[in-house]
């Protein structure tokens, strides 16, 4: 169980009490920490371009940009966005304390690893890697950890070919019926579990609830009480699959 308490929509997926949202080779790419006397969750992120070059950082929700001529900050009220001036793409969209929802924040972003691998936290879905995957590898699923026993929810081994392997396919209809998991959790005040579509993880410390390889597409997935949401690492050359 993490020591940071929050509820958020990140890339259209639901995260609750997960301090490290995305980690690459033990290095946090997107994380949440409690900050100050109020212990309000603060967001930390690295913003990189498609070449992996650092273009800015988010520290406790405040954005610092290196190149202000190309990337622009639009801030109105509790919402702040970074936009690429050359093509209008939204690099980061952060809403703190969104009205109409019992959430601490909503984030969508296009992040890149130092090696340039993209992580699309799109407002409606999460995609990791460059492959154009048509069907979600994982959808309408709640990944939850028992107290103190959940290191990572998803362990993804990125291979150079970017082809998804060993995909974890969850058919939506048979698992959850009509109402998506995230929608159920947004309307719930209590613990973040759904009756049918939950993998409750109580595995060995250091392990992950789900192991995947290749690029990845997540739709309507919830992460609750893990130390790390998504841990990414590159396959070693001799392990990489064609």
């Amino acid at each position: 169980m993490s020591d940071v308490s929050y509820r958020a929509l990140i890339g259209g997926c639901y995260f609750s009490n997960v301090p490290n949202i995305i980690v690459f080779d033990d290095h946090p790419i997107l994380s949440v920490s409690s900050f100050g006397a109020t212990a309000r969750p603060g967001i930390y992120a690295e913003l990189r371009d498609s070449a992996g070059t650092l273009i800015g950082q988010v520290e406790n929700g405040k954005i610092g940009l290196i190149d202000r001529s190309r990337y622009q900050i639009h801030e109105v009220g509790s919402r702040v966005s970074v936009i690429d001036g050359t093509n209008g793409f939204i690099i980061l969209d952060l809403i703190q304390q969104p009205s109409q929802l019992k959430l601490d924040f909503i984030i969508s972003a296009t992040l890149h690893l130092p090696n340039g691998v993209p992580i699309f936290l799109h407002p409606n879905r999460i995609r990791i890697g460059t492959a154009r995957i048509l069907k979600p590898n994982m959808m309408s699923l709640c990944l939850a950890a028992k107290a103190g026993q959940g290191r990572a929810a998803l362990n993804i081994e990125l291979n150079p070919a970017g082809i998804p392997q060993d995909s974890f396919q969850i058919p939506r209809t048979s698992m959850v019926g009509a109402t998506p998991v995230v929608q159920r959790l947004l309307n719930a005040d209590g613990p973040a579990f759904t009756e049918m579509a939950t993998i409750l993880f109580d595995g060995k410390p250091g392990s992950a609830a789900v192991n995947m390889s290749g690029d990845c597409y997540l739709l309507d997935v919830a992460f609750t009480d893990f130390e790390i949401g998504i841990i990414l690492h590159l396959a070693k050359p001799h392990e990489a699959k064609a």
Binding site: D93, T110, P123, R125, N187, L219
Partner: protein, 328 residues
């Protein structure tokens, strides 16, 4: 030798600068857009919006609540009358008021205003009663923050102001500011000279434009519960004089024996952008609310299918109103 700029050359940028300052203060009021704004419609309207991925912006003179717009015009005339008394000792300003008092209506023929309405609340009983179509009402929740950039025609999102004191202050401050500007620009001139130099006519033409912006955002305080926002576009519909305007953009529908002009604002660019991972724009429908109906579960299923057909990379948030409203 460089030729000295004429007074006319100096006047235009001065008026433009003054107008921009006033408008930018006004626009500040409308910057904080709620995360979602809801458009209430019937089942027929909803299917039309989703299938065509467009909204119809109705000519504001033909909207249901036109009486509310007449309220705004009356309010403006009252404020002008009050201000006119205040400046009675200044002949230039008396002339200015005389020339402008009949031109403040934003509903003049020619330069037409088109609008579509949204509410801050997605589950309002009064809206279900008005738009519910006896059990077939829906509210479409839209996140406009980035969406506005993807609309093909220039539109402005404006928050409706209901507080009469606030409304009077906005109008009064604009008049005071304009009067100060007129005095500055006509200093040392008499009315005839200010007219022949085109200063007074130019200044007079500014007030209707400024008031046109304001008045479409004013409503009677009784409607404050609606917390309305309006997506607004203008079009010069005097096609006899203005041959450049694309007349084909103006469309017509019928409603209870009336011929109602409207323009379409399409969201197809935004939908295409939302399919692109890199763009970062979400699907334009962020949430759907199903109003009081006999078949909420059936309509939830069909709506999910319809939204999935338009955008399969989506797990739409659909909620049911839950308000126990019965249609007898």
């Amino acid at each position: 030798m460089t030729e000295k700029p004429s007074f006319q050359d100096l006047l235009e940028p001065e008026i433009s600068r003054w107008g921009q300052e006033l408008l930018s203060r006004w626009q500040q009021r409308h910057l904080t857009i709620p995360r979602l704004l809801y458009h209430y419609t019937t089942a027929e309207g909803l299917v039309g919006i989703l299938n065509t991925q467009s909204f119809w912006m109705t000519n504001i003179r033909y909207m249901n609540d036109f009486s509310e717009l007449q309220y705004a015009t009356t309010l403006a005339l009252d404020v002008i009358a009050t201000k006119r008394k205040q400046y009675v000792g200044k002949p230039m300003l008396v002339e200015f008021f005389h020339r402008t008092e009949n031109s403040v209506s934003p509903f003049r023929k020619g330069n037409e205003v088109f609008a579509v309405s949204f509410c801050e609340e997605g589950n309002l009983l009064s809206q279900w009663r008005a738009y519910g179509d006896r059990g077939g009402g829906y509210a479409i929740g839209i996140d406009f923050f980035h969406l506005l950039r993807f609309l093909p025609r220039r539109c402005a999102l404006r928050k409706v102001i209901y507080d009469p004191e606030d409304q009077q202050n906005i109008l009064g401050q604009a008049i005071d500011s304009l009067c100060g500007f007129v005095e500055k620009m006509t200093e040392g001139l008499d009315i005839k000279e200010a007219t022949t130099r085109n200063i007074l006519p130019k200044c007079c033409s500014v007030l209707p434009r400024i008031f046109g912006e304001y008045l479409v955002c004013f409503k009677h305080p009784e409607f404050a519960e609606e917390k309305e926002w309006r997506l607004i576009a203008t079009m010069d519909c005097d096609f006899v004089l203005n041959r450049n305007e694309d007349a084909n953009l103006l469309k017509f529908r019928t409603f209870r024996g009336n011929i109602v002009p409207y323009v379409e604002v399409t969201l197809t660019n935004a939908t295409a952008a939302s399919r692109d991972d890199q763009c970062g724009l979400g699907f334009f429908v962020s949430e759907m609310v199903i109003g009081p109906t006999l078949n909420p579960d059936m309509n939830t299923d069909s709506l999910r299918m319809l939204l999935g057909q338009i955008n399969p990379d989506l797990c739409p948030q659909i909620r049911q109103s839950g308000i126990p409203l019965r249609w007898l």
